[in-house]
Subunit: 402 residues, 2 copies
């Protein structure tokens, strides 16, 4: 969490930190240290042990004040206009940075972070190095990556809120699905065959109404093609009865925190094999949810899920690396989960590799699934906050039959 | 356009180009050179005058083949697994890059592009420099920025498609608005007061149905608060009759091209002042659309818009820099337009600065507006492709009254 920033800088012998970007959208490290959306971005400067300064344009002072940095300055405070009127753009930028760096006492091993154009940023770094600043690159995980891995209570409150809203969307979507009329293997809505496009329209409206943004398409995948965990479902696909429907939704608040949840539903009655798959996924998911505790090794959670699936006769990803090629398309063919916060995929990762342990305040998905090209996919996903006790942010039933 | 890449590299004495990223989403330069979405990203390598190579993971070969690079290789082709099993992650990465660089003949002045974590990328660049690669930073506009500024016919075709879909959403939303019942200054839908949230729900459904993503919230701002060009409209805001409603929608196809259009509507009859503002914006917008021609100086378009507004007695942004502080909140208080493509804001910029001229194939918004804290805002925005003749991608009426 952000309060670990100084400790983490000290641990790595980094004396100064600069994070910048031309917007906070799509720049999670900048969004994180600022703590509020900045439509035109800004420059965050911090010396180890000192309070940070955030520099923004005059019109963004109000936006900046909504964030967590107390000391807000403007580009004008460092004479930006004068510098930019005298030199070409990139030279002016370097001179402007040198001025801020001097005035803010930035020095020593200095990290320059933020998600930015690599080539133009290197131009800046080379200029600053020439000017005498000791800019150092970082191995992964970087300081901010590491700090972002655990969430403080303010972040958890926001994650709770986006969780509630997302669950609201799922609940209202199931309410809509229940209004379908089933005849044999077919589902009808207002006497027309129900299509994925109809459901998408409902989901889109609900997301918007709940002030949620889905940057990547929601997965609403009915039938056999859901055996591909990344198949999103085409608008023209029929929503049939008796087959699994994988509904994986991962929206965020505008420029905010994400949620990520999956439920698998069947309209009418499922095939016996699908029911068996569902029962196994349910068992593994509930078991993994129970294992989410501080200090639990991430790899251990994944391995336990694999073993449990294997005990029911399903191939798993860990067999794939041992040469079982069937596990490429059938069984539990992906990882158990990943971190969620200002992005939809971040540390920690609950996969087969890595010796990390779950830290208090980490927020992870628990999303085992089973896939079979003959029958389709089944996946159940909740988001957990690691704590004492751990907290499930996804308050949705786990019934397959609607 | 992409076919200018070699020419642009030659002009700047850059012999090699590497573009990388862990996904194409949010990494427009990588998305551009690849020409297709890559969920796990990839590494693009090109030597001046040679065809590029794209390196992806085994499972993404199919996705990569949908793009424009003919030579697709996998990480395994360069022995990734072996290297990563022997060295820690970041050392392994540097060694892996050195292997690719050697095998692909990358050398000379080398640019490393893509939107990536600045600090971790610097770590890679420093390692490659140590290994003998001459990595150079670029001033802005970078090679790819410059190449991306003009669109080829394939890109224009995609921009046309997203334009059509966006206009469809606007048309259907106005159809919904027309169903409102007006009583005095109030608008009702199904006998309840019409709120922005009701309209957002409709817009969200329509976006989803048309396979469009709105990463940032649509602006649907009724009444006086629309005098702030960035006010988005809260769900609880009432949609009243007689006041301007600024409807600015800027969606993209998933991982694709963007559209950006604004219309200003009034339910019922507008105030005389709003009608006058609308007439002025309409005149300026139509005039600017006519000025969109190859070689037209960007600054000239902006200045002409300012002059025309001033001739009607409205303050403008160019007066602000001359000290007219009123132009901060009243009048034409922003720029005329900006480029659109794989991002919603890119070169060229139609503002008060910069000596660039419109190039053939550039795609720009033309979006003059007038704002008055007493009455609200009025803005009309189309997207134009610079050509002979130039093409308007926004086929929507420009009537204020619904």
């Amino acid at each position: 969490m952000i309060s670990d920033l100084d400790k983490e800088m000290e641990k790595r012998d980094v004396q100064s930190l600069i994070v910048f970007g031309d917007q906070t959208l799509g720049n999670p490290d900048l969004a994180y240290v600022v703590g509020a959306p900045l439509p035109r971005g800004g420059i965050y400067l911090k010396r180890q042990g000192n309070k940070p300064t955030l520099v923004v344009s005059n019109i963004d002072v109000g936006s900046a004040k909504a964030g967590r940095v107390k000391s807000i300055k403007t580009y004008s405070d460092y004479g930006q206009e004068k510098i930019y009127s005298r030199y070409p753009r990139d030279d002016a930028r370097a001179k402007f940075y040198m001025k801020m760096i001097k005035e803010e006492g930035i020095g020593g091993h200095t990290v320059i972070g933020g998600k930015n154009d690599s080539s133009n940023t290197l131009q800046l770094v080379d200029s600053l190095r020439k000017g005498g600043l000791n800019v150092v690159g970082e191995k992964s995980p970087t300081i901010i990556e590491s700090v972002r891995e655990t969430k403080d209570r303010f972040e958890i409150e926001r994650l709770r809120r986006v969780g509630k809203r997302t669950c609201q969307v799922v609940k209202e979507t199931t309410r809509f699905l229940r209004r379908a009329t089933i005849r044999g293997s077919k589902a009808y809505y207002k006497s027309k065959p129900l299509k994925v496009g109809d459901v998408r329209r409902v989901i889109g409206g609900l997301l918007n109404e709940n002030d949620l943004v889905a940057m990547e398409d929601t997965i609403f995948a009915p039938g056999r093609r859901s055996a591909d965990p990344h198949y999103r479902g085409e608008n023209e696909d029929l929503v049939r009865a008796g087959v699994p429907i994988v509904f994986d939704i991962f929206p965020s608040e505008p420029e905010g925190y994400w949620h990520d949840t999956t439920r698998t539903y069947v309209l009418g009655s499922p095939h016996r094999k699908v029911r068996e798959m569902y029962d196994a996924v349910y068992e593994v998911q509930m078991n993994a949810v129970d294992m989410v505790k501080e200090n639990a090794p991430c790899r251990e959670l994944m391995l336990t899920a694999c073993k449990l699936f294997e005990s029911h006769g399903y191939p798993t990803a860990r067999q794939l690396i041992k040469g079982n090629k069937e596990a490429r398309v059938r069984g539990f063919i992906h990882s158990l989960g990943h971190g969620v916060g200002l992005t939809i995929g971040e540390r920690p990762y609950l996969g087969l590799y890595g010796a990390e342990r779950l830290r208090e305040g980490a927020v992870v998905t628990i999303e085992p699934g089973l896939y079979d090209p003959k029958y389709g996919g089944v996946r159940i996903e909740d988001i957990m906050v690691v704590g004492s006790p751990s907290e499930n942010l996804t308050s949705l039933d786990k019934d397959m039959e609607l």
